[in-house]
Amino acid sequence: MNALRKTLDSIKKPFGKGQKLEKFAPAINAFDTFLFVPNHTTKKGAHIRDAVDLKRTMVTVIIALLPALIYGIYNTGYQYYIQTDTPFTFLDAFIHGAWKIVPMIIVSYVVGLSIEFGFAVYRGHEVNEGYLVTGLLIPMIMPVDIPLWMVGISTAFAVLIAKEAFGGTGMNILNPALTARAFAFFAYPTYMSGNKVWVSEAGSVDAISGETILGSLAAGQDVNYSMMEMFQGSIPGSIAETSTLWVGVGALILIVTGIGSWRIITGGILGAAVMGLLFNLWGANALMSFSWMNHLVVGGFAFGIVFMATDPVSAAQTNKGKWIYGILVGIFCIMIRVFNPAYPEGVMLAILLMNVFAPTIDHYVVNGNIKKRKKRWNSAQELKTA
């Protein structure tokens, strides 16, 4: 360890204060702090600090994403082999999926991190770790056959417009990963919807077609999957959102570690369940009578509410606000699914919509506290003058 440390220190030398490469220090520091937690000590304020930092927080989210990602990779291969009637093993399916998905992840990280590093050097701050999560989320919510250049452009759009334009990490209003998806969805609709994009190679091999369950429902077709299949995730869909089971494992990791807000997740499930139930009672069409329990396990709802709605920057920030925000995401998700067949998956738009309203929710929650304080001041004033 010491030898490595010495090597690093000598590499870092030209990036030090007053040296000629000082401007690029954030870039080299990002790599250094990835290996070592730095030797910085407290200079002001509290003299001791908690072991938690943003890196640890973000890495925890990545760990929570892994089960869904691994299942997503497997499911990509599984859907392909099932449809082409080829006999296959778990490994075959996994390799097929990895062959498709790993390049997407690489493109997303390379494009996104280049922009992040560029802005860090330009603005003279350290590279924030937030993109480690965003960069993994973007491919996970795309259809498997989307061309890599589209992944790249969506990523660039999301990082530049949704994040850096607002001032970088911590300042953005919209969730960057969802912005990337929304961008692709509206810019390249043929690659993001229909029955030819959800299964690997569906566009080139005629034997393969695959509509998502919500897509079939919106088109008025029957659904041939059992609830167990929906829950387990062996259905067509965006890469890693299909398995409620493995998303649930991720949710558990997030809630137990306290990294994801249980208030938002619980609120979201509650809102969606109640809304689904109400539509069940109404039951005017196939989508309305689609059981509320199934609503919770199909499509991107579970993935969205667990990994996207809980993004602390774009969600509501007060505890009360988180409940309201979560519940509304759930309600709007089901509402968009049912009322708007053009967008069979409602969770993306529901979360983006609530991202926009989250500051308003917080404003009213905080205002409650302010009003209470002013009321106390005023009644004290009246006592004095009386």
Binding site: V37, R49, A51, N369
Partner: protein, 452 residues
């Protein structure tokens, strides 16, 4: 005795740190010099009355406050003004007095002080240098002698890490404490609020003419901001005064003897020294003679005037602060940790987050050091500040209001109800390594300058 309120809070955290002081008194070696550090008096600017080389008696005025010339600061010992240390823009940083070992001191007429009226008592305290023992809220500055406060608070229960135990420190000082309380009582329209720990240890239950309340819960339950919010919430324009328990005794002693009392009992704590215990000395004493009694366990350590969350670091050649009853010595943490950001790695570092097993495994106490355990980042994680902040104030929103210097918003969000120390745990716990206390202190300075 009647308890008017039992304050109980869940929000906060007890940091289980090694190095608490054993309940024994050691006597520090005599201190050759004493120092008054004007930075200890937040919001006051000193105007000197003595020059370098002049003789000074104990209790004789050394300087007064430019903001309020009535407030005088006196020398804790008799001796010679040795050095006046100045920093940038000739700001006075330290006034060092070489003690001459005699007991020569200024004596004030205090007979029948009970018969003095409010104004008479105030001028006696101002003249004798006892006034700086009284602080005010909002802002935590020295009290303004022209005010009549809404209430006076004395809390004998501290919850900060390795906090000193006042029931132990002041066990033999009942009479002086009562006298101090009587003085304070005559300056306010309702009796002094006296806070004690829920188990009611020591002699504080026997103190008369006070409103007793108890406190229970993890840090920062012992912070006065919480007690004030519960018992006498600060409205705009309100003033509340606060006095440290040992300074109540100092005021009481003065009233009984006529001589300025500069006692300071200090819990010397921290995991960088062995056999932590209490010592009796005077305010402003040298730190080195105190440390000589303790064997340092590591070669590089940091001495802190106060506790690990809110104290200020001081060199070994430095002096005790004016107010702190605690000196903490912890090892420096300027080392690297490989892959230290992995969740559930390095569980020997105390963490309030569930991304570490630390709280499950280590029940006997943690070794701490000064490593930042990360780097400063943008504010991302939400909800973690509220968990360690028991006041009815939105901490992150207030911090942001201070950052953008929006005075109206700061007022509305409760800047009058907080002092920087309330944000000590937030400094400790927040993921982004934000310097919350610093931000709040700057916010309060802004309020003092703009609103007053």
């Amino acid at each position: 005795m009647e308890i008017i309120k039992k304050i109980h809070t869940q929000r906060g955290a007890k940091l289980n740190i090694k190095g608490g002081a054993d309940k024994i008194f050691g006597n520090a070696l005599p201190s050759p010099t004493f120092s008054i550090n004007p930075d200890d008096f937040f919001g006051s600017i000193p105007k000197l009355l003595k020059k370098e080389g002049e003789k000074i008696a104990a209790g004789e005025s050394l300087f007064f406050s430019k903001n309020d010339p009535q407030i005088k600061f006196v020398s804790p010992v008799s001796g010679v003004v040795q050095t006046i240390q100045r920093g940038a823009r000739r700001k006075i940083e330290k006034i060092i007095i070489a003690a001459d070992g005699t007991d020569e001191s200024v004596t004030h007429k205090v007979e029948n002080w009970e018969k003095l009226d409010r104004e008479g008592l105030k001028s006696l305290l101002l003249e004798s240098g006892n006034w700086p023992f009284i602080h005010q809220r909002p802002y935590g500055t020295l009290a303004n002698p022209t005010d009549t406060p809404k209430a006076i608070f004395v809390s004998t229960f501290k919850t900060c890490p390795l906090s000193p135990d006042y029931s132990f420190i002041l066990n033999d000082e009942r009479e002086s404490f009562q006298a101090g309380i009587d003085v304070l009582n005559s300056m306010v329209d309702q009796k002094v609020f006296l806070g004690t720990d829920a188990s009611f240890a020591g002699m504080f239950g026997d103190i008369k003419d006070v409103q007793h309340y108890t406190i229970a819960g993890p840090h920062p339950a012992g912070n006065l901001s919480l007690h004030i919010q519960e018992l006498a919430p600060l409205n705009m324009g309100d003033r509340v005064w606060t006095v440290n328990p040992e300074d109540v005794v100092n005021i009481g002693r003065f009233m009984n003897s006529g001589k300025f009392s500069s006692s300071r009992t200090v819990a010397v704590t921290g995991n960088a020294i062995e056999k932590a215990h209490y010592i009796r000395t005077r305010l402003g004493a040298e730190i080195q003679p105190i440390l000589d009694y303790f064997t340092p366990k590591s070669s590089q350590f940091r001495v802190i005037n106060g506790d690990v969350l809110t104290g200020t670091s001081v060199s070994e050649a430095g002096h005790l602060g004016y107010y702190n009853n605690q000196l903490t010595v912890i090892p420096e943490g300027n080392t690297y940790r490989m892959f230290g950001w992995l969740p559930f790695k390095d569980n020997n570092i105390l963490s309030l987050s569930n991304t570490s097993f630390s709280r499950l495994f280590n029940k006997s106490g943690f070794e701490v050091n000064t490593n930042l355990n990360g780097e400063e980042r943008a504010l991302v994680v939400t909800g973690e500040m509220e968990k360690v902040f028991p006041l009815d104030v939105y901490p992150m929103q207030l911090i942001k209001a201070c950052l953008i210097e929006d005075i109206e918003k700061m007022e509305a969000l409760g800047i009058y109800e907080v002092v920087p120390e309330d944000f000590g745990l937030i400094d400790y716990a927040n993921t982004s390594k934000l310097e919350a206390q610093e931000i709040i202190r700057e916010g309060i300075e802004l309020m003092i300058n703009e609103v007053g």
